[in-house]
Amino acid sequence: MNVRTLPLPKERQETRGGTLDWLDWLLAAVCAIGFVVALYAAFVYAPTEAVQGDVQRIFYFHVSLAWLAYLAFFVVFLGSVVYLWKRSEWWDTVARCSAEIGVVLTTLVLITGSLWGRPIWGTWWTWDARLTTTLILWAIYVVYLMLRAYSSDRMRGARYGAILGIIGFADVPIVQMSVVWWRTLHPQPVIEEGALPPQMLIAFMISLVVFTVFYVFLMRVRVRIEWLKEEIAQLQESEG
């Protein structure tokens, strides 16, 4: 069965052509103000780290981005499980949108990590366990997006994508635990162990909250794009 022939759910019929609603604008405003506050906290409020100096301030956004990437891939995992279980097109859309955002976030994690590693380790890249598993995570979801984009049969693409979304998520705990399981250059977890001074922790928490709101905002916009595509496809089908 072609999923494009399915009737649009009630909430989809109320998209008003993809217009942002009051909640989107509210989230956008919270993000704009939140990013200013997060930058202030990272650059002014948090003290300078004694050994690494100012370059350590990369940590606040770098770690927040990494955690949000984990969240994004968890949503892909969840959406994939529900899709395979209930064949819910809605959850497939959520998974696909979250994977795209997760890839953007992981790309930034890799870039900012590299920019931190150059002055601290003296190299842009090393095949350290944390870095390598993160690169694999990024590659898994790039493949996921390619699979979804180039699949000629949409249902089959959704099914294979869901399987990859579930298997691929297994790399997330490996990435997280890599610094514990293997001897790595990457710093050990400091947040979970409570080793972070209070001001640094507050600066990090602000970044984390702002990025979480930003993820929700991006997801709402990204899902709306899928609804618009669906609406156009249905109109074209009814025309043809």
Binding site: D54, W116, L235
Partner: protein, 59 residues
């Protein structure tokens, strides 16, 4: 820390901002294009419907 290392800090935050703003612009562009396409399709449909109905009721 040598002052030249501030370049890495500046580069990291600049890249984050540029990529995130670029991604939002990309999404905004997509929404704009799709809305334009949807409006065109709806107009085409509404213009097509009366034409058909006039043909069906010739007298």
């Amino acid at each position: 820390m040598p002052p030249q290392n501030l370049v890495y800090l500046f580069a990291a935050y600049s890249i984050i901002m540029v990529v995130l703003i670029g991604y939002m612009l990309f999404l905004s562009q997509q929404i704009g294009d799709l809305r334009h396409q949807l409006t065109a399709l709806r107009r085409q449909r509404s213009e097509g419907t009366p034409a058909k109905s006039t043909r069906r009721t010739p007298g």
